[in-house]
Symmetry: C2
Subunit: 415 residues, 2 copies
């Protein structure tokens, strides 16, 4: 079996060195990594071709093949991504606050790296360089376990980054690769408490569920978004149409897309046919409850499963509600705590929705599609947390840090 | 088997109501709880007597019986503790920062409750009222599972608090009690991911270990402190003696007490005999390595286990080191990431220690005993986190919160 323990030991040791590097040094090394990607482009594309050939042989869909595919341009984009990380402010070392306590101790809370971060992810190879560079910038060692579809691509990408570090003679083991994509090794990784300070799974609902049931390492849950648009009785028609269309169809395969439309009964008759007409441009299929289906003759009757389903496709569940209270109760029961939006002109409805809906991001009169680290202005994103501990919502560099108290005394003892 | 699911469902529902209460309302309810403790003092003491009788029959030590014992004064102190929590600022609702992004969205990060907090704890009944009031103040429902030694005490304390809420007709299920102290039910609680947002274990190393191996609920690890005092070659003799004495003997049974003394070889011959003389006042037993034992004739030879042991007693491991590097390496290998101190007059030694030692609290020239929420000025403490995720070091009210993004738009869609 693959030796995760050795990887863990190496990463832990490397993390101690990495935590002491200056920002300038870390940026120099990141620049070496970016250059190495460009220098080794041919080898990277050759390895990616192996993955693509396997994908074709295994009958993987065209959409998935496209997610997997690297081109010269996409490798350039990876290098550009690393250079963007170089530009970001380094949070490590910042003393968030410092005060003198009643004993005369000067107590400061300082940002420090988390230590060793494990990432289990699926399909897209650019996650490899994104995650590696964000972890490196924040002084964290990382252990990467990608999906089997992108095995050869991920392997060479990590090797290229590692070689850049080895050539520089610094923190060779800061970026580690799990060269085994079996479930057994993934499960072992989820329980590697001795070496991993945190585990971040990035993938679909089944991966997240497996991590939830298996992991004893502290986890930051990410990604699944069963998101709702609630159209209040006081909504503007055109805004309701535009936002629903954007949230559902602008990029349906991502976690901040909307999956269910809730609409107040007072406006259902007027709004639903018009929304249907707009979404028909993308051939959206509606799964509607008995009240909504009256206005959506082409819809399929919704079953209970629809309320919990993250379609990630041109499909939308639709339900007519009698009140904002019913909408909020439905959302809090079925959502995955990701992104939720209300469309309304009513002040009290907007405040109520913001207060009572339990989710990482709650919107008034805007599309759920904005939940994103770049859009929020963090300059980067390692994922979107849907849990309440440590980080919630889009995670940038700040969310990859921990803190420690540094305390300056002059001989104090406790009485 | 005890029905944890029902408890979880009730707590989850109650948490939704509790999250919406104003600070004034929460404070009124806390005051009712404080009064209820005073009104029901006789019943509380009678239940505690049952626990004490059982403890005596089971041959529990006098020290442990004292931890378990309630008196009129101790119940007064519990009520006083709740009134102190009333005085603390309520973090819930605070918008930490708010900004306009490039799309014109106004994005605010707001503090919200975690939801439902599970606490598994041992022996002292005052943890029941402390934890319940801190969770309540921060709008969190709590499920309390205390140790079997304090079963009747904990049960009546929770009942008294619950009755205060029931009488007021608000959030009756915000404080829940697990009336089953079996390991099976505790293990089930550690995996109650559907209902618990976080689990905080408070207890000894074996409990923490069990939680680490079993829990799939997000955990905040607390408590174990294998802490070190490192006496540098440039330390002042008197300060070194006072701080070592304080850290070891002022209250040896708590997690911020020191367990191992590391001393630079240049000052071992002069300092160790004098420290030994001082600590002899408390009959401290030394477990010394071969270099230290030369200066500590009454010491026992240390074994490898000593470096990892949290004695919580008048015992101290002693090791002579050749350099600050050796001291730091020893600490980072064996510590539990709790509290560490260096005694030195040397500027560079102090900076190096602060930078390289991996722990929640790192001290220069002060006793480790200061790691405490009250001492740090937080006004309260639910425990001391020794993990890196979410909270590190003493946890006050702030650490019992999560965040959510509230976003004000005016029709924005993503291009």
């Amino acid at each position: 079996m693959f030796d995760l323990i050795q990887l863990g030991q190496q990463a832990k040791k490397s993390a101690q060195q990495l935590a002491l590097l200056s920002t300038t040094r870390k940026n120099e090394l990141l620049e070496l990594m970016a250059r190495a990607l460009l220098t080794n482009k041919d080898d990277i594309l050759a390895a990616n071709q192996k993955d693509l050939n396997n994908a074709r042989q295994n009958g993987i869909s065209e959409v998935m093949q496209d997610r997997l595919r690297l081109t010269g341009q996409r490798v350039d984009a990876m290098a550009y991504g690393i250079r963007q990380v170089i530009q970001l402010a380094d949070p490590i070392g910042e003393v968030e606050k410092m005060w003198k306590n009643t004993d005369g101790l000067l107590i400061g809370r300082q940002k420090v790296p988390l230590g060793v971060i494990g990432i289990i992810y699926e399909s897209r190879p650019n996650v490899t360089t994104d995650a590696a560079s964000l972890c490196f910038k924040t002084g964290n060692a990382v252990i990467l376990r990608g999906g089997k579809e992108a095995f050869y691509s991920n392997q060479i990408l990590v090797r290229v980054l590692q070689n850049a570090l080895t050539t520089a003679g610094v923190c060779e083991n800061a970026i580690q690769f799990v060269a085994d994509t079996s479930h057994d090794v993934a499960n072992q990784m989820m329980r590697l408490t001795e070496y991993l300070d945190v585990l971040i799974p990035r993938g679909g609902a089944s991966l997240i569920q497996r991590v939830k049931e298996t992991a004893t390492v502290p986890v930051i849950e990410t990604g699944t978004g069963n998101n709702h648009i609630y159209i209040d009785k006081d909504a503007q028609l055109e805004m309701a149409i535009n936002i629903t269309d954007n949230a559902k169809t602008q990029r349906p395969s991502v976690c901040n897309a909307a999956e269910t439309l809730l609409i107040h009964e007072d406006v259902a008759a007027e709004f639903l046919p018009k929304i249907a007409t707009k979404l028909a441009e993308h051939k959206v299929e509606f799964h509607a409850d008995e009240k909504a289906i009256v206005y959506l003759p082409d819809a399929i009757a919704a079953t209970k499963e629809d309320w919990s389903t993250e379609y990630l496709d041109y499909i939308m569940a639709v339900k007519v509600v009698a009140s904002i209270e019913e909408a909020i109760a439905h959302i809090n029961r079925y959502n995955t705590k990701h992104s939720e939006a209300i469309i309304t002109d009513n002040y009290f409805a907007s405040q109520k929705f913001l207060k009572e809906v339990d989710a990482a991001a709650v919107y008034v009169n805007a599309s759920t599609r904005f939940t994103d680290g770049f859009v929020f202005g963090f300059g980067a994103e390692i994922g979107i947390s849907t849990q309440k501990l440590h980080a919630r919502g889009p995670m940038g560099l700040e969310e990859l840090t921990s803190t420690k108290y540094i305390i300056y005394g002059d001989g104090q003892i406790r009485e």
